[in-house]
Point group: C2
Chain length 191, copies 2
DNA sequence: TAGTCCATGTAAGATGTTACATGATTCA
DNA sequence: TGAATCATGTAACATCTTACATGGACTA
């Protein structure tokens, strides 16, 4: 009954932003060009068609705002179906493939956690992320150890850069977990 | 006279690998699926058409290898035009946009440095990379400082993750430069 | 009044994903 | 002999890039 969710990362980003605040295509483009939100393109050729698709799937709806002498704007707002879709996206389990190919999509998922998911989902995400990172780091280190003797200096350095990037993510995940746990403690004390 | 180089990152990766060693499409797919080479997809639907395009642009050429009772393989090797294209790609200046949107493409460029470019190009790359990273980090930190009070915890953490990633790249670039400088010193001593 | 920003879009083309298709060869 | 692996490809589809197009409103 529930059909497959297949939306691009851009679509999910748009959906999240529209959930935060009903917006026009132009607003969203400005947002992408003026903030470091894992810097999507702000090109109209990407954004306007993506909005149409979301509307076609009934994840958002639009109305034209032209009141007063103002110029016309098509303002989008999220539907309940859209909220459901975004939540489902956020609470998907993290796979090895996510970690290897879509690390920044994962971070996009996490950025919206506080607003659209509950604390438990955020914690599950971080724990599962940490676990996948551990596993992948083991793989990478093993590969480096086995092959470093056959690699050029620049090749080895490039691989090390990848490993260091994942190590940084791992430390980040640990710290993020600690942050949430500290928060929970404070809240208990307040009650 | 020299037309615009517009090849995807996948195409450049294929070109570099073929330069290292004449290969069939199947070899290249296996390479992508068995090494952590910034993990491109190993899907035939991406690789075979990309090889055809490279051949159409005369950056590689192919011959069919079927000697003996063996199965047929189409083996690709790089042309001098291909070598030129790859070198030109590697020695392009690093832009802000590269740093913001294509950090892993940059790493791919660097990975092949020792094999296809000279030491000076590698050093220029690292210096320029370090400089762009410094500039972008300043931007990101300024943005965080100005906006952290308005951000949710998960939003702030996600942004911090991005900053930490760039800090790691920055430290990497410094260390890589030091590695090459140490190397140069040793070589001088040996002479 | 000329330039810049607001605001929305389309068209052509490149690239990549997913799924399907085919056949030879090797190995248990 | 059947399964796995070698080996190459195509077709349909989604998505994104680049470039173009349009017009209103604000401002120096």
């Amino acid at each position: 009954m529930v059909e497959a969710d297949s939306n691009s990362t851009l679509s999910y980003a748009l959906l999240g932003l529209i959930w935060q605040k009903a917006s026009s295509g132009y607003d969203l483009r400005k947002f992408f060009s003026s903030t470091p939100i894992r810097s999507f393109s702000d090109s109209p050729g990407a954004i306007y068609p993506a909005l149409r698709r979301l509307e076609g799937r009934k994840l958002i709806r639009s109305r034209i705002e032209g009141k007063g002498g103002k110029r016309q704007r098509r303002v989008f707002e999220i539907t309940s179906r859209g909220r459901l879709t975004l939540r489902r996206w956020q609470s998907q389990p993290i796979t090895r493939d996510d970690v290897v190919h879509n690390a920044d999509t994962l971070m996009m998922r996490f950025a919206f956690m506080d607003e659209f998911a509950d604390r438990a989902t955020a914690l599950r995400f971080l724990q599962s992320f940490r676990q996948q990172l551990t596993a992948y780091l083991t793989e990478l280190r093993r590969y480096l150890k086995a092959n470093r003797q056959f690699m050029s200096i620049s090749g080895r350095l490039a691989l090390e850069s990848g490993i260091q990037g994942y190590e940084t993510l791992f430390r980040w995940a640990k710290r993020a977990l600690a942050t949430y746990q500290r928060l929970a403690t404070h809240q208990r004390k307040e009650n």
